[in-house]
Chain length 260, copies 2
């Protein structure tokens, strides 16, 4: 970091460029470098690692202030990161932060999360990357604990980096500073979202279905998971990898080999 240039900090999110959580993140990191925000023009929660192939992207530069440039893009968080790296930035970012998401991305929610899609795309490109989420969907949520302790995490990662190809999935509980217990590195809890589609009839007698559901934690006993940390007033940090290989299974499916 001891160069002539200030660190370049790339920010994205999945709630859109106007989201309160994004503004908190900008305020949190702007003392540490030059900030470029490239964020979706609308909320795109649940977009995972999706990319836009069938229509072209449009980029609009919004008003910028000293040290902070903001672009909006008609795409996903992964699109935002890709077009930032390829078209919008004049140098490589030193760090990428995504969020602060309005809503939890702990346990298996990581796989559906656009916030984490953006962070993972950063790590694929060997940029130290952090996805931040607060366990509240409210637009008026109190981000003060997330901002204070998220900043500590950010400073450490900016100074020390992260293991190559690894990003962080950081989730904050909704608690006061007094009740907050600290930050805990942990593993992803095993769990699943169980859907319960709500079936409705439209005014033209057509049937449609709204996605609803609830999270099922499959390991309520374990104390080393992100779900346990959050339920016990800790922030959770899960290191996230982008190699999908299930190395434990490689030896268990050798019956599928059939070399001619």
């Amino acid at each position: 970091m001891e160069t002539n240039k200030r660190p370049l900090i790339l920010i994205t999110n999945d709630d859109g460029y106007f989201a309160p959580g994004l503004k908190v993140l900008i305020d949190m990191v702007k003392p540490y470098g030059d900030v470029v925000v490239v964020a979706p023009e609308q909320g795109v929660s649940g977009m995972s690692h999706a990319i836009t192939i069938k229509f072209p992207l449009r980029v609009t530069k919004l008003e910028s202030e000293e040290g902070v440039e903001i672009f909006k893009v008609n795409g996903t968080p992964v699109d935002c990161v890709k077009i930032a790296l390829n078209q919008l930035l004049d140098r490589r970012p030193d760090i990428l932060v995504s969020g602060i998401n309005h809503g939890s991305n702990s346990s298996i929610s990581v796989i559906y999360s656009g916030t984490m899609g953006g962070a993972i795309e950063g790590s694929l490109n060997e940029i130290p990357s952090i996805g931040y989420s607060l366990c509240s969907h409210s637009m008026n949520a109190d981000f003060s604990v997330a901002k204070k302790h998220g900043e500590s995490i950010f400073k450490k990662v900016l100074a020390n980096g992260l293991p190559k190809y690894t990003c962080l999935n950081v989730n904050f509980p909704v608690v006061s500073e007094d009740d907050f217990k600290g930050v805990k590195v942990c593993r992803q809890a095993r769990g699943v979202w169980k859907e319960e589609y709500e079936k409705r009839i439209d005014p033209h007698n057509g049937t449609y279905y709204w996605l609803t559901g609830s999270f099922n934690n499959h390991e309520n006993g374990a104390t080393d998971t992100d779900e346990w940390a959050l339920a016990n007033n800790f922030a959770s940090i899960v290191p996230v990898r982008n190699d999908f290989t299930d190395f434990d299974s490689l030896d268990k499916i050798t019956n599928l080999n059939s070399i001619k």
Copy 2:
């Protein structure tokens, strides 16, 4: 499998219900059970594990033949699997197959792939699941090798299951049966897509960007990867997990703990 009922086989894909690769997959598996296809109404390549939250899903049942029912859905492959399990099926599928995708999903393409999103969603729900892809985007591609050897893989998985929460990412090279070398269990190659957005000007003087890019294999020397297998006329099978925790990094980021 020795019950009164034939196995229930759930099929999805990301190229849409009309794709030739889907028809090959139906023909491949229908001798083995009752088939229900729940597939996107249009091509949704690159949708990863995205889910549809902001608009409701519509389901249309298409004509069905003996032992094969087909539904189309205005959503992603993951939506198709979720609504199949929650609304459309009257019993739990014994196996899920996704594809056959028109185009490779090897290496890091697994993270962008809607085909694999569908398969991974199956494995989250503890259904043995296989995503199949052929390394050709042509709508007229020759699926004969993929069908013949994909069927062998399918039969083994139907008989033996898979490790819990693990699905298979199966990719076939475009080769003749004579040149085909066999099926090889392997790991995901480390690689990255490097974007090169193509910038254009529309008739109204607006700027837009098309996503283009090329795959960079970061480990050309390794012989235990899916990329090596495919380049050497093998089909690749990578066991895929849905726990994103980077266990190797847990010990390396303990400096981020800060327990009050």
